[in-house]
């Protein structure tokens, strides 16, 4: 928790910058567009229709869609457009903020009494004077309500920017959800909510001041907003030296190992930033596009998802082929395996396993009609499940997916008899579970592999800082580190677990 509090100012600053930038961009686009649309009903229908359509896309999906879009755009213009981080988050949030700004500004402008406009024209106001002296002040209360809505939405939706690798308060929420660290989740939520309420209050008092022609609330609010933005930029001023971006997927092991790497690089004098919560489908592309510099992935995931292979060669051959494939296509570099594996492991309660005498997947297949299977969300759809079933003819009495933590709970409480656990999970030892042996080698190896982007491979100081990790993390060390974060009581933060893990590596 203390580690999380230390990250709060930086994440808050990044959150403020992102939200303010998205809101300003949406205002810069939305207000002129609203003025044009208010005079042309056909344009208003098109613009408002488009903005409403954007609103129907869930914010999370909108953010995710900008990644391939920017990637394709970058490829089209010969590279240079970052597809991860600030830019996609900014664009998605801007689009999201457009609707309330547009709708309210158009409503405000078209709701003005026609007689007032006739009077303005009749006394010889130019279009600009009419807008400034008559239309803008009269549309202001309605337009301002839209801007306030947009501000609150943007600050809330900005927490989702974590998923495209933009640091924000969502980092706390997503990390907390994964590690079941509820105080962390609450910290992130409360900070975002307070920020939204503050912004809404300031905009509200600005509006009140403008409406009642009192200048002090307007200048006061603008001064507070400017101070907030200024403060959020302070960390940027301090940013000196090269920054290494470390990517992580959305579970404890990834959070911990990202920090194991980060702590080593900081010791070597690098500045480090984390892009967390990236999906399996995005993270490798982010590495080859240079949006992140380092992350770790699992051999089987790259083998099936990226290389689209369905055969299962011996471990050493598989690693050689993966390394060759990466280098050959110039995508990234495989620095080496860390020494442990995180594969799908069919797991039972140890007492049950002894009682039934099930040791291997072959034994399990024979007993499967009398057993119930629990899996994580995606396993039943993954190629590994098909590969397992073609090697061992399993037909379970029942098979149902769970959230990972719920899956362990379901096994402990006897709701299911077998689960597809993660072999490096600390709960295997702590919950008294036993894993079954894959005698036929049906499931590919899931060695944890340290991957480095092409650009960073040319930095010998960086490579020598992280090379000591290769082959040094045994599965029992990783399980212990994971358990320190995942255990129900006396939870540690990923930072603390990473410090412990780094101390174990000699």
């Amino acid at each position: 928790m203390s580690g999380a509090l230390a990250r709060l100012p930086g994440l808050l600053a990044a959150h403020v910058q992102l939200s303010v930038a998205a809101l300003l961009l949406a205002l810069a686009i939305g207000l002129p567009l609203a003025v044009m649309a208010a005079r042309r009903p056909a344009l208003a229908r098109i613009v408002l229709g488009f903005a409403s359509l954007v609103q129907t896309i869930p914010a999370l999906a909108l953010l995710a869609l900008f990644y391939p879009l920017l990637l394709a755009l970058s490829a089209m213009v010969g590279g240079g457009i970052p597809a991860l981080g600030f830019l996609p988050a900014l664009l998605a949030l801007t689009l999201y903020a457009l609707l309330p700004i547009l709708r309210n500004a158009v409503t405000g402008l078209s709701g003005i009494d026609p007689a007032v406009l006739e009077a303005a024209d009749g006394m010889g106001m130019t279009a600009g004077q009419r807008l400034r002296l008559v239309e803008a002040p009269l549309a202001l209360p309605v337009a301002m309500a839209g801007i306030r809505t947009a501000a609150v939405w943007t600050i809330g939706a900005a927490t989702l920017a974590t998923t495209v690798g933009q640091p924000c308060l969502g980092d706390l929420i997503f990390a907390g959800l994964q590690t079941q660290d509820w105080p962390l989740v609450l910290t992130g939520c409360a900070a975002a909510a307070l920020l939204a309420m503050l912004a809404d209050g300031l905009l509200g008092s600005t509006e009140w001041g403008l409406r009642t022609r009192r200048l002090w609330p307007v200048w006061g609010s603008l001064a507070v907003l400017a101070c907030g933005l200024g403060l959020s930029l302070v960390p940027l001023m301090r940013s000196q030296g090269p920054v290494v971006t470390i990517g992580a997927k959305n579970f404890s092991e990834q959070f911990i190992l990202a920090r194991v790497i980060g702590q080593r690089l900081e010791k070597a004098g690098y500045r480090v930033q984390y892009r967390e919560g990236l999906g399996s489908a995005v993270i490798f592309k982010a590495l080859s596009a240079g949006d992140i510099d380092i992350y770790l992935d699992y051999a089987g995931t790259l083998w099936t998802n990226e290389m689209r292979r369905t055969d299962v060669p011996p471990r050493a051959q598989m690693l050689t082929e993966i390394g060759g494939w990466m280098k050959g296509e110039g995508r990234a570099q495989l620095l080496g395996p860390l020494g442990f594996e995180n594969s799908y492991a069919f797991t039972m309660r140890a007492s049950e396993q002894r009682r039934l005498g099930i040791r291997t997947l072959e034994d399990l297949a024979a007993r499967s009609p009398f057993l119930r299977l629990g899996t994580d969300i995606e396993f039943l759809e993954r190629p590994e499940w098909a590969m397992t079933r073609s090697a061992y003819p399993m037909r379970f009495a029942e098979a149902r997916p769970f959230q990972p933590t719920m899956m362990y709970n379901a096994l402990a409480s006897g709701r299911v008899d077998v689960i597809t656990a993660f072999s490096s999970d600390g709960r295997i030892a702590s919950d008294g579970l036993a894993t079954l042996t894959d005698t036929k080698g049906a499931i590919p190896a899931y060695d944890a592999l340290l991957l480095v982007g092409n650009a960073r491979m040319k930095d010998p100081r960086l490579i020598s800082a992280i090379t000591p990790l290769i082959g040094k993390i045994a599965v029992n060390i990783m399980r212990e580190a994971n358990y320190r974060v995942d255990r129900p009581d006396a939870k540690e933060s990923p930072e603390e677990a990473a410090l412990w893990l780094n101390a174990q590596i000699k």
């Binding site: 007689a115 006739e118 009077a119 024209d121 006394m123 010889g124």
Partner: protein, 253 residues
């Protein structure tokens, strides 16, 4: 010979298939108070609006002191012409004083003392400068409307049913007050109205329109004497008939 203050030269205006004004020609000398009378849809408002180009004619010209209005920059043209209309259109977000002097500020002039002067002129207390439009009665609001139109010192005043939405008492007193102002300031005024009695009592000259054509153009006395044709006489018959019935009622009582 000086050109007339306003000259309509074969002015035509149609909205789609319906013709609003079909080739009107008219000279209005400086200082005249002209009432433009006709039933709804007769084209009187459209003809009025071709002067300050709130309506642009399809053919023909409007000349102000010999100059074609189509050749003048819109803001310049409209700042030379006062415009008052039935719905008043005071700016609801600024006080009466600002409503009145906004035309001066647009022209880049300082409003030194002008607001008080105009409030005196239209017969409202000076303290009204600080009121908001929503706090005014209909008659007070239209007085402010007139003051606003006069602020920049125009020589021409266009009035489109200016007193149409007011109660009869206010309407009568405001009409007389404006007529007195017209004389004092030496304005040229065109007032559109559908009320023949108002036209007869206020104007120097009455122009009757019917379906886009000018059908009569004469002094109130001549109109009352029976000249001007059927359409004009039908309009005069209404107030005359009312007056006679009132007199009969008085006699019975």
């Amino acid at each position: 010979m000086t050109p007339p203050a306003i000259r309509f030269d074969q002015v035509r205006k149609a909205y789609g298939p319906s013709i609003a004004v079909s080739g009107a020609s008219l000279d209005i000398p400086a200082g005249q108070f002209v009432a433009l009378v006709g039933s709804s849809g007769s084209g009187k408002s459209t003809l009025l609006k071709t002067v300050n180009r709130l309506a642009e004619p399809d053919a023909g010209r409007v000349l102000l002191a010999g100059k074609d209005v189509a050749a003048m920059a819109l803001p310049d043209l409209r700042r030379r012409i006062g415009y008052v209309f039935q719905h008043i259109g005071l700016f609801p977000h600024i006080d009466v004083g600002r409503n009145i002097d906004i035309a001066l500020r647009l022209a880049g002039q300082k409003p030194d003392g002008r607001v008080e002067e105009l409030l005196d002129l239209i017969g409202l207390p000076r303290a009204f400068a600080a009121r908001m439009p929503a706090e005014l009665s209909g008659g007070q609001a239209q007085r402010v409307g007139v003051a606003r139109a006069l602020a920049a010192g125009p020589s021409i005043m266009l009035m489109d049913e200016p007193f149409g939405a007011l109660d009869p008492v206010t309407r009568d007193s405001l009409g007389r007050a404006y007529r007195a102002l017209h004389d004092r300031l030496g304005m040229t005024t065109i007032m559109v109205t559908h009320d023949m009695a108002e036209a007869l009592l206020l104007a120097d000259r009455i122009i009757v329109m019917d379906s886009g054509d000018i059908v009569a153009d004469l002094a109130p006395a001549a109109l009352l004497a029976g000249a001007g044709g059927d359409v004009a006489q039908a309009l005069v018959a209404v107030p005359r008939d009312q007056a006679e019935r009132l007199r009969a009622l008085e006699a019975d009582g």
